[in-house]
Amino acid sequence: MPRRTMIEAIRDAMDVSMERDDKVVVFGEDVGFFGGVFRVTHGLQAKYGKSRCFDAPINESGIVGSAIGMAAYGLKPCVEIQFADYMYPAYDQLTQEAARLRYRSNGDFTCPIVVRMPTGGGIFGGQTHSQSPEALFTHVSGLKTVVPSNPHDAKGLLIAAIEDPDPVIFLEPKRLYNGPFDGHHDRPVTPWSKHELGEVADGHYTVPLGKAAIRRAGSAVTVLAYGTMVYVAQAAAEETGIDAEVIDLRTLLPLDLDTIVASVKKTGRCVVVHEATLTSGFGAELSALVQENCFYHLEAPVARVAGWDTPYPHAQEWEYFPGPARVGRALIETMEA
């Protein structure tokens, strides 16, 4: 099976979707001729023409707003916001329009759009190239929020998202674009070609939205993670020797609560990990759900490891980013509690 980077896998997902359905259109800033600042849309304009893949003005609200209009017409736009940090001008369109259109019109109009946005830190991106705003989407009724962690999932989830009848926020951890990353910034990064999840089948396949994956089976503690933190959690388990079960949530909303609850009932302990800031982050929702659904099975408080409640700094990258040492400490503390 061919190996692909996450960039190539996401591009392949759009290629496959555009080939199968001429209603799929791709646009965003620098997405057309140039092929995207991360090369994710490279070659699509040449292959499908400017009507299917094109450059947009620097106007996030315009990109999402026009995509909503296109979706109301009957197209299936898959648009790009260059960095998740720049989605805020489009927040009105995403949360008040895309998310609500089916509900407020009782299905008279629908909004099958995908909004791709590179997310996450660990790249010395500073304050506006590192943010993880997923909690701002999971709090919105009517949006689905997806965060892949590897090329295989990225392709299957993106095709599923494009085919989904409702708006999907597709957050791509840019730290994982070229290879998995476990937080050990002092070690060379291995490319996806060396990783089994870099195997990406040709053609059409989907990874269903709303289904988590167990990345490391374990019996001592459940770790709930997504995106880059999946690899950090796996590294922390190996380095502490704690037999953690690492769950890659893949879709934050709708959430695969069954997989989470089954695991925590088995382990009796739970650590929630994300890059985003702690307070009111998605981890708070996860922690509350575990507590509500597994209270009588819990042997320790649910722990959360997250970014600090500060803007994402530049020089202090590795003091901010929740690396394997911090996650490992939480695993040990949870085992000792």
């Binding site: 009507s51 003005p57 407020r104 009724s141 959430l255």
Partner: protein, 410 residues
């Protein structure tokens, strides 16, 4: 350099406030028939002055004059009059229903009836409007059932939107009327996207975007103009300048001495200004702009100069911020009266027939109201199922919503 002294902060004010005498002497009104009618493939650079004038057809004597006249038959004009009268009567009844507690909220179109009623007649089947909350004439003029509109206003068991939406936030794909949102200006860029999609699909349908004077200050107005201009989208960009955004006079949104139409010029978009109380002028300009869009000549911006004669909404009292008699002084008059006078001048209408039509329309609206009220009003009679509250958030109900619905006991 000389000492310029202290800077002073400028906040525009309307000419007159409550207690003052209404004064529109600053409003320059072009003579009916005086503005030329360019070819639809005109070079936008050659008609820039049209963004600063006002296209008018009906003169003071009720005659249709000039190059924009002559597009509509007497029958079409009589239908237009009836549609405007119906909207006005509908408004009055629903405003009263709100006062009677049968619904929570209403917004009237008083004085602006010509804009949406005449515009609708310039569109073809399949075209899509992206209206604000003050274009119900698009529905009335397209024959959308009044009973259904009222069912939505009453949030009753027959409400097509299942009680989820605030009154008057209608939606009808079938009638080319996009779902109304409470968030201002969002639909303006969505209309451009719809038009882009039509062009991408090599379709023949066009879109119409709608916005009020106040909401042009929202950033989505700018987004829409950029996208429409960049992609030459087949869209008519309508700005209804009714002089007021709730309590805020249009100078706050517009600034300086420009016009709203003039905003289009910076984007290379042909931009026209039209008498919004002149049914014939509105229709003629709408037709011109729609034809341009349909012939792939790109977007047109149209500013309708009109006056919001009524309160902003059923929750508003305009006497707190403008003179009570200001609408009487409005130099462009009343759209219903002006079309009525024109039809009398044409010899196809009379005061007697008008009074008779008023009575007939009132009967029709009251009958529709009775039927709607048989399905319930906001606090009485039939209402949408509580289960409907959980439906339609997504195409398929996800597990967490199913759990919540069960917890709610429905």
């Amino acid at each position: 350099m000389a000492d310029a002294g202290m800077l002073r902060f400028h906040v525009p004010e309307p000419e007159v406030r409550p207690g003052g005498t209404p004064d529109f002497s600053n409003v320059t009104i072009a003579e009916a028939g005086s503005v030329p009618r360019p070819d639809i493939d005109v070079d936008p650079r050659t008609i820039r002055d049209m963004a600063f004038s006002i296209i008018r057809v009906l003169n003071r004597n009720g005659e249709a004059v000039g190059p924009w006249a002559g597009l509509l038959s007497s029958e079409e004009l009589l239908e237009g009059l009836r549609n405007m009268m119906t909207l006005r009567t509908f408004d009055a009844r629903m405003q009263m229903a709100q006062r009677q507690g049968k619904t929570s909220f209403y917004m009237q179109h008083l004085g602006e009836e010509a804009v949406s009623c005449a515009f609708r007649k310039a569109l073809a089947p399949g075209d899509m409007n992206f209206p604000t909350y003050r274009q119900a004439g698009l529905l009335i003029a397209d024959g959308y059932p009044m009973v259904t509109m009222m069912n939505q206003i009453y949030s009753n068991e027959a409400d097509p939107l299942k009680g989820r939406q605030l009154p008057i936030m209608y939606s009808s794909k079938e009638h080319g009327f996009f779902s109304i949102s409470g968030n201002l200006a969002t639909q303006y860029i969505q209309a451009v996207g719809w038009a882009m999609a039509s062009a991408i699909s090599n379709d023949s349908r066009i879109a119409a975007a709608w916005i009020g004077d106040g909401s042009t200050a929202e950033s989505d107005f700018h987004s829409a103009l950029v996208f429409a201009s960049t992609y030459k989208a087949p869209v008519v960009l309508n700005v209804v300048n009714n002089q007021w955004a709730i309590s805020t006079f249009q100078g706050i949104a517009r600034g300086g001495s420009g016009t709203f139409a003039a905003r289009g010029l910076g984007f290379g978009i042909p931009s026209l200004r039209v008498d919004g109380n002149d049914y014939l002028a509105v229709h003629a300009v709408a037709k011109w702009a729609a034809t341009r869009a349909r012939e792939n000549l790109g977007p047109t911006l149209v500013e309708y100069v009109t006056y919001r004669a009524g309160a902003h909404s059923s929750s508003d009292d305009p006497s707190a911020y403008r003179p009570k008699t200001e609408s009487d002084a409005w130099p462009l008059g009343d759209p219903v009266m002006r079309l009525k006078n024109h039809l009398i001048k044409l010899g196809v209408w009379s005061d007697e027939r008008h009074a008779q039509a008023e009575a007939e329309i009132l009967d029709t609206v009251i009958a529709a109201q009775k039927e709607a009220e048989s399905h319930g009003t906001l606090h009485a009679g039939g209402k949408p199922s509580t289960r409907e509250m959980f439906e339609g958030v997504f195409a398929e109900m996800p597990p967490h919503l199913r759990r919540q619905r069960q917890r709610a006991g429905v």
